[in-house]
């Protein structure tokens, strides 16, 4: 190895942890701006929740078992993503892929339940245009569902990278950021079932 190449590789090895830490910080900034979006959607929902314009209320529309099933799917997908993170840390590519697959299926189940719920609401004559309450409901819950769908796409992409590239340092670092995103979405969901579904059914 020439002195130049040696210096270059040393430089790279020196920079890498810094670069990864910076990317993680950047991703935190994104997550926090996302948290502000959700915060304002929550505030909008809280203001609009009683404006049903003589239309159906949460008590008649929301299904507690459906909300509970969605909650469990996301919670289980959080722990299975945790297992994928642990597999990444112990450099076990097969286990990481396996847990990513399980996480993907659980997330897919969540999105399926949500779309089915939305479709049922529209069928019941409760589309977003029916009242301020329903506009705010669809915006808040739909934005979260859209995030989960993007998360699912990202899981597919990372599974592809795991297969094609293996568990290299950049792939592992992307997986960690995907984990932050996925756990963040579960936290937003805690807010949704505590602010929307439980008080709505009560």
């Amino acid at each position: 190895m020439s002195a130049e190449a040696y210096a270059a590789s040393g430089q790279q090895a020196h920079d890498e942890p810094d670069v990864l830490a910076q990317r993680e910080f950047g991703f935190w900034l994104y997550l926090m701006s996302d948290a502000i979006i959700f915060g304002l959607l929550f505030a909008t929902y809280a203001v609009m929740a009683s404006n049903t314009a003589g239309g159906p209320t949460g008590k008649t529309l929301f299904s507690l078992p459906n909300a509970f099933a969605e909650t469990l799917l996301l919670l289980f997908s959080s722990i299975t993503f945790g297992f994928a993170t642990l597999a990444t840390k112990s450099n076990d590519r097969v286990a990481a892929l396996r847990w990513l697959t399980v996480t993907f299926l659980l997330g897919l189940g969540f999105v399926f339940l949500e779309i089915r719920e939305f479709y049922g609401l529209v069928q019941l004559g409760a589309p977003p245009s029916r009242s301020g309450f329903l506009s705010a409901f669809f915006t808040l819950v739909g934005t979260h569902g859209l995030h989960v769908s993007f998360g699912l796409t990202w899981i597919l992409i990372m599974a592809g990278q795991l297969i094609a590239k293996g568990l290299t340092a950049p792939v592992a670092s992307r997986l960690l950021r995907l984990g932050l995103f996925w756990h963040f979405l579960d936290i937003v969901w805690i807010g949704i079932f505590s602010v929307v579904y439980l008080p709505g059914v009560l």
Binding site: A35, A43, V47, L64, S194
Partner: protein, 105 residues
């Protein structure tokens, strides 16, 4: 992110602890709403309390946030966002509820 060199066993235990706590903090409010075991106001207070605690559980056990090992810049970003959210949500609700009352709607 957790950069500690803790053994995988420890990490696994941390995830499972967080999962068990989150499961309990989910089951309690759902059970209360399903059974109507408590008065309405008490139930709402329990829902809010369980939600706040569960968010902290997720932050600690799943996102591995803690005051020692998390990078200072990341913590600052989180605290700043929390303040913004508090001002914007609190302020919006304050204004709109006040307006609601004054309009006697």
């Amino acid at each position: 992110m957790d950069r500690s060199t803790a053994a995988p066993d420890h990490d696994l235990k941390s995830y499972l602890t967080g999962f068990a706590l989150a499961l309990a903090l989910t089951a309690i409010p759902f059970a209360l709403v399903a059974t109507h075991a408590l008065p309405k106001l008490t139930t709402l207070v329990v829902i809010a309390g369980a939600a706040v605690v569960q968010v902290l559980v997720h932050l600690h056990y799943f996102l591995h946030l803690d005051l020692r090992s998390t990078a200072r810049a990341n913590l600052l970003a989180i605290v700043f966002a929390a303040i913004l959210v508090f001002i914007m949500i609190g302020g919006s609700l304050w204004i709109m509820l006040d307006l609601h009352q004054r309009m006697a709607m």
